[in-house]
């Protein structure tokens, strides 16, 4: 469990997924990918960590993922095989915005 900082980048310990944190709750949380806690960009994955078959739906480049309460939002900057989760709850892709292009 740790506080995650808006703007920080994290990577999956078990697949290629990388994310940037766009919004985060003001408390200690556990952000997971493939069922395993995500790690800093320069950290080594824990030995023996494997992707959970229950949490292997994959991430898509450029998609933003959020939980039901909308308290967290992460942007997928590199896709991978795992699914993202927050404290055991799987994150869902956010609906695409339909804003007119202004520039």
């Amino acid at each position: 469990m740790a506080e995650i900082k808006v703007g920080s980048r994290l990577r999956s310990a078990v697949c290629a997924t990388e994310v940037m944190v766009v919004a985060a709750p003001d408390r200690d949380v556990e952000l997971t990918c493939g069922g395993v806690p995500m790690i800093g960009m320069d950290d080594d994955p824990p030995p023996g960590a494997t992707i959970s078959s229950e949490e292997a739906k994959g991430t898509l480049l450029g998609k933003r993922y959020t939980n039901d309460a909308g308290e967290i939002e992460v942007l997928c900057t590199k896709p991978g095989d795992g699914s993202l989760g927050l404290d055991g709850e799987l994150l869902e892709p956010k609906e695409a915005k339909t804003l007119p292009s202004s520039d």
Binding site: G7, S8, R9, M20, V22, L61, G62, K63, R64, L75, T77, K78, A96, K97, L99, P100, S101, S102, D103
Partner: protein, 502 residues
């Protein structure tokens, strides 16, 4: 956060698509990414702490922007209309700078920078040098862009946009990879304008090909829209005025590829947007309002709003065609009175804005952002019941006549409806009885004439008598900035002389 992250995503998501096109010359997203890395190596190796690009829209601009982001130094696009002496004083503030300048300026300026390259030499170097491995810093507080804005007095101010402002703006307003492969965006705003910078970042993130237009002319714009199958374009009001005039003069011209035109950067005359919607009925128009200090757009009047307003019988809805639309979902807007309190819908006051993309900061002058993260725009306006924002103008331009606040734009809109009038500017001039009086400077359509009194009567019949200009003068043309802002200060100075001490 770093703008480079957006380009990296584009390069890995659709690297073979064309990112930027200038004439026949193109860069794919992958090539733009590699060129940025190569140029970043040069910036780092030469210990340059800023990248200054003095050029029209060429490949040097996007390469320079992303190379600076990669190297972790600010990108400063400079106004090519400035004199060498003016550029020299800006470069002093950017030293030690990595200067890229358009060929003819290169010789005069090359001694003023740590490193100076001609534009073609720079592009060639970036495209052909060794590729760099990704190593950019992700510190969201790094300065991404410095934009010099012309102050009314003294030296130009440099607005500071940090990576977190620009990345937040893009994430809040653009969906990644949302453009279709054939989409193409025509960029004709100059690179030193915030919309020039924002359009590069927006197009890269959406995956839309940018087609650069170096020097705007209405005919050139129409030609390139047809030849390149342009789908999207952003223009300032003076450009749309000239495009509409050109289209009317050419007879029936079809621009079948064009789907969306956004406009902003100044006041759009109602007559021009109405004509544009009639001439190009298949085009979706968007009005975008924003400031340099707000990382471009903060409110939009979208295509549906345009259509609803243009076809409505309800005056309150119809009026929205001249509004700025509603705030982006990621931005809050509040109107405050002189005591600093938020006002109710319909009441005028200063436009305040808050959000992750808002900078409100100037180099060496600190932040103008107030308590709670609210930025005072120095624009005066009001909001209707449904949250549509209307702009009266710069607070400094408001005419105070006998205690009554008069918006120059309101009077200008009415004068522009007169058939003999081509363009006009309304300003306040000193008046013994009222404090200030309304003055109008008007340009007439070819072959038309009108008496000054007729303009006064025209306004009096349509607005309150206090709005009628006490003085009307005729000119051949009005002063505009090259990005389409009417320079009311110049109009006023010409009528009454420079302000004391200014």
């Amino acid at each position: 956060m770093n703008l480079m992250m957006l380009l990296e995503m584009a390069a890995s998501g659709f690297g073979d698509r064309v990112a930027i096109q200038n004439g026949q010359d193109t860069l794919t997203y992958r090539e733009l990414f590699d060129a940025a890395g190569t140029a970043a190596s040069a910036i780092v190796d030469l210990s340059c702490e800023r990248v200054a690009v003095l050029d029209v829209n060429t490949l040097a601009v996007p390469i320079g922007l992303f190379a600076a982001s990669w190297a972790g130094v600010p990108f400063a696009p400079l106004n090519y209309r400035l004199t060498d002496t003016e550029i020299e004083s800006l470069l002093e503030r950017l030293t030690p700078a990595f200067l890229v300048s358009e060929g003819s300026r290169h010789e005069a300026l090359s001694g003023l920078a740590q490193s100076a390259l001609g534009r073609d030499e720079f592009i060639d170097m970036a495209r052909n040098g060794p590729v760099r491995d990704p190593d950019w810093a992700m510190d969201p507080d790094m300065i991404a862009v410095l934009l010099f804005t012309s102050g009314t007095t003294g030296a130009p101010k440099a607005a500071v946009l940090r990576h977190r402002h620009l990345v937040s703006y893009i994430l809040g307003s653009v969906e990644f990879g949302s453009a279709a492969e054939e989409d193409a965006s025509l960029v004709s705003v100059p690179p030193y304008h915030v919309a020039g910078v924002a359009s590069i970042a927006s197009s890269v993130y959406s995956g839309r090909r940018i087609v650069q237009l170096a020097n705007f002319s209405a005919e050139g714009w129409i030609d390139i829209v047809r030849a390149e199958g342009i789908t999207n374009a952003m223009v300032v009001p003076t450009m749309l005025t000239r495009i509409v005039d050109a289209l009317e003069g050419m007879g029936p011209v079809e621009l079948p590829s064009l789907r969306a035109v956004s406009y902003g950067g100044g006041r759009m005359p109602l007559t021009v947007i109405e004509k544009a919607m009639k001439l190009l009925p298949h085009v979706a128009f968007t009005n975008a309002y924003g400031l340099t200090e707000t990382s471009s757009t903060i409110t939009v009047l979208g295509p549906d709003d345009h259509r609803a307003a243009a076809t409505s019988d309800d005056p309150a809805v119809r009026r929205r065609l001249s509004s700025l639309g509603r705030p982006l979902p990621s931005v809050e807007v509040e109107i405050r009175n002189e005591e600093g309190r938020a006002v109710t819908p319909g009441a005028p006051g200063e436009i305040y804005v808050r959000g992750e993309q808002i900078s409100g900061e100037y180099l060496d002058q600190g932040s103008r952002v107030e308590g709670g993260g609210w930025f005072p725009t120095r624009d005066r306006g009001w909001m209707d019941e449904d949250g549509y924002l209307f702009l009266d103008g710069r607070i400094d331009d408001i005419i105070v006549r006998g205690g009554e606040n008069i918006s120059p734009g309101e009077v200008e809109d009415v004068i522009l409806e007169h058939e003999a009038v081509e363009d006009c500017a309304v300003v306040g001039i000193p008046d013994e009885q009222w404090g200030e009086a309304v003055a109008a400077v008007v340009t007439l359509r070819e072959g038309c004439s009108v008496e000054p009194d007729e303009i006064g009567t025209w306004v009096r019949d349509r607005l309150r008598s206090s709005r009628a200009p006490a003085r009307v003068e005729f000119r051949v043309e009005l002063p505009y900035s090259e990005t389409g802002k009417l320079l009311r200060r110049k109009v006023r100075e010409e009528l009454v002389g420079p302000p004391p001490g200014g």
